[in-house]
Symmetry: D2
Subunit: 101 residues, 4 copies
Amino acid sequence: MGNPTNTSLSEKELAEAQRELRSWTYDRGRRALYRRIEMPDFPQAMAFMVRVAIEAEKLDHHPEWSNVYNRVDVWLTTHNVQGVSDRDLAMARHINTIIGD
Amino acid sequence: MGNPTNTSLSEKELAEAQRELRSWTYDRGRRALYRRIEMPDFPQAMAFMVRVAIEAEKLDHHPEWSNVYNRVDVWLTTHNVQGVSDRDLAMARHINTIIGD
Amino acid sequence: MGNPTNTSLSEKELAEAQRELRSWTYDRGRRALYRRIEMPDFPQAMAFMVRVAIEAEKLDHHPEWSNVYNRVDVWLTTHNVQGVSDRDLAMARHINTIIGD
Amino acid sequence: MGNPTNTSLSEKELAEAQRELRSWTYDRGRRALYRRIEMPDFPQAMAFMVRVAIEAEKLDHHPEWSNVYNRVDVWLTTHNVQGVSDRDLAMARHINTIIGD
């Protein structure tokens, strides 16, 4: 995925990304990669969010996410390109390392 | 607000609650108290969420919330009464003690 | 371990506890159960602490712990009995469910 | 404090730092800046730690700290210089912006 992070992924690149990141879908309305994550309980959902948050701030690339009890819905999008970029793929891969594919 | 926590607030009680909790609005669609919170930055947004989360788990009453960068949107509703209960008022007051009215 | 939580464990009970909780040792100076935990990295150490913290506040029984990078040292003791109580055993078991025995 | 971060502060620089950072003391045994922080309660102590942790990981400079209930003891030292460096001063200032001088 050699495109620079200042452009959004092409349709073709998005399709490739989805073949790799099967637990993520493309939310066309939000132009974002989306994954619903269900942890066993609320403390684990919060621990997950803290772990991702620490990484997100380091990368200066923050998820849009919502939480209800044990569930975390995550959208990854890059505001300044108004779409999905390589940085979102990197974050999706990072989240997969935490909770599995 | 002497109603038991196993019933939702009446229209009259909701109106009273909103006079007290002016930074919260009633989201009719979600039958929830709603407040948008803007913290100075992402680390403070996460610290706020952790602080509320610890209290929420203790009370066994969890918010529905979403976060984008420094912003946290919070909805307080009580699932088993399908509406706002005294427990949501208590949580709203607790959040107000953290970030102000 | 049927002793009430308002007394510390006897020597015999402590010995039994250590047979069960092999990753914990008794720190005689601090009258505490002690375990050193090494997580893969700092974000995971913090996520671990947040998860335990949420449980600790709910139980109103808080660990004494220190953190350096990926390492968390945990002491479990019960102040009002000046020693290890059933509540510490419960917390040690809870921590073991998170990170393994 | 123009010294590079790959050396520890001189005695003179340490003395200057302590005049600026009055709530911090120099722990000679640990060659670290030290501050005891007392938050109003445990959730606030944890929220404080999470906020600092996010910043620490971003700066790749992590505190040594311990927590008991509402209390957080923080030591700032730089391992590869075996003493206090400019990075510790920066972290001490950051912590002061959170909880006051």
